[in-house]
Symmetry: C2
Subunit: 339 residues, 2 copies
DNA sequence: CTGTTAGCGCTTTCAG
DNA sequence: CTGAAAGCGCTAACAG
């Protein structure tokens, strides 16, 4: 036998009052007698009443829910952004639902549609590496649904955006390597479909140029993932060069960890013979021997800022004539893997 | 100027037909002429129509959404479980919303309530370490909302559950240490409010007993977190004992990584002088030097199984007289940190 | 093939 | 202080 969940009408009937009275009691409406209010609350608790937000939201045209779409939740990077969003949004009484695109455009598009159908009040999106068409995002804009893009850029679409200044972070890292005496600096680059990876590569080249170090194409290897195994092959390739590098700047800490593994296996000393600098400040990075130098990014802050901008859009009239594009500053953290 | 999102009535009016006709066109209903259908679909696309699931779900009393509540999403352990759930549930056309309790009973309870109000079709919950009262879960059961508990047990509440046989995994690990010649085996235990941590500690004791090794209380230290920093202090304490251990079995890989860091810092050789075995098979673990021995858990499979059981509950009559409690088997992975 | 009607659960006027 | 009625957007009978 299935017990049905109690509705407002159920308790109204049982108490012999009207649904509106029950609603008033439940919502602390002033126009209600102490007595009926008490009776309603009591029965509601007894029957384990839970308001049906589907009905409420349908009525209010507002769900107090925002949709967050990230390429993956596994990485420390994105989960830390998510924590920032969470913390900002909670005091507003709004919930967050998370979607994982797995770096796939199709999945991303499908999540956007589902979330839009669920009627989230706004979106926070970090696009997948595959995303080259922005029809799904433009459809949000057309429908006047607030949207903030973070971390990864979608060039050509004008909307609020929050980034980390990747260029700056990468430049700091490479310049540090140069100043610590490295002459043959390699870069394990990320997928060039990502704005973040492009910025880091550009900073790498610019830093070399600034210090009059000629660019050597052999020293740039691309890899398409972010976990240690994606650092293995590229590093082997670099080590097998006639004149192997004396420093490697990697797209992120995961890849750096793979790189260090290969280098130590080859009996090469870090940082005496090769310096390594990663990116992201993964929590594991401190615990390697040597501990990994890296570029810390204000991920939590990025989440907060993006969420703050979104909440403002939701709560005020969504005037797209003044758009905010913010950049937060990263910080080089020098540890044991560089001189 | 705000453009309103198009509703079925909007396109009905614009086309001079009735809402039901539009609904039929949009839902591939057989009783509709090719012509009107085409016209409707065209206009719908033009106006960027997105069905309002709030309305639909209210009507259908079903949201095709399940709620997943985990202590934290950051850890590889839970995100891998989540991937398993995701993959199982997707072919059913159901979505998943994730809640993070941050190991807090209050947060967990509040998420349960929100999700219930949103009218998710069912719950998948791994309780927080703080959760000792189960009123929020019992209220779900009373309201006949399907619920499957996974990974961490709630003793005393009768409902479908899916676990990993932690006892078995821990026993394998400790027995292996014994058989490889270790005599003074320590255990860095987890918070004893967690069923999983209790099982591992019990297995540790039982394995010692089986091999007639006397239990030494000094060799068991408790820690309350899962990241490397929680391994630091406990390990220092163990190393400072008059007769320090020759092996440490830790509650998880994170703590093991902290332990290895301290041990290497002290100039002690792993595994020659101290063997280490962790738990969870974190993806980073392979890349340490030495690589970390660990107990692999079928996390993805656990997610799948829990989700499969839940989907069955949702789609059939939720008969709580026959409850399933399943246990999956873990596997010891021996790498460089043990002999 | 198409339109009309009712209703999912809730709040909010507007009357009493 | 309380009730009646309308309506959020949608679908599913029931008529035509």
């Amino acid at each position: 036998m299935k017990k049905k969940r109690a509705t407002i009408t159920d308790i109204a009937e049982e108490l012999g009052v009207s649904p509106s009275t029950v609603s008033r009691a439940l919502n602390d409406h002033p126009a209600i007698s102490k007595k009926t209010k008490k009776a309603v609350l009591k029965l509601a608790r007894q029957r384990n009443y839970q308001p049906n937000l589907l009905a409420l939201n349908l009525l209010k045209k507002r769900t107090n829910t925002i949709g967050v779409i990230v390429p993956e939740i596994t990485s420390h990077f994105f989960s830390s952004v998510i924590n920032g969003i969470q913390d900002l949004v909670k005091p507003f009484g709004v919930n967050m639902i998370i979607g994982q695109s797995n770096e796939s455009y199709e999945e991303e598009k499908s999540i956007v549609q589902t979330f839009a159908s669920i009627r989230v009040d706004g979106f926070l999106i970090s696009p997948s590496s595959e995303t080259k068409k922005y029809d799904h995002l433009e459809s949000l804009i057309q429908n006047n649904i607030p949207l903030v893009i973070f971390d990864r850029d979608c060039e050509g679409i004008d909307i609020d955006k929050v980034f980390v200044d990747e260029y700056n972070g990468a430049f700091q890292a490479v310049e540090y390597l140069i100043q610590s005496g490295c002459k043959r600096i390699a870069h394990i680059a990320g997928s060039q479909t990502l704005s973040t990876a492009r910025h880091r590569l550009r900073a790498y080249k610019d830093a070399l140029e600034k210090h009059s170090i000629p660019f050597n194409a052999d020293y740039v290897v691309q890899t398409d993932g972010f976990s240690p195994e994606y650092g293995i092959e590229p590093t082997r390739r670099l080590l097998s060069l006639q004149t192997p590098p004396d420093a490697i700047f990697t797209i992120n800490d995961g890849v750096a960890i793979g790189a260090m593994y290969v280098i130590k296996d080859a009996g090469i000393k870090i940082p005496e013979e090769i310096s390594i600098i990663g990116f992201d400040d993964d929590p594991h990075s401190t615990y390697f021997k040597p501990s990994l130098s890296t570029v810390w990014q204000p991920t939590y802050e990025m989440g907060m800022l993006a969420a703050r901008i979104l909440m403002k859009r939701i709560n005020t009239n969504n005037d797209l004539s003044k758009i905010r594009v913010e950049s937060l500053f990263p910080e080089l953290i020098v540890r044991g893997s560089s001189m």
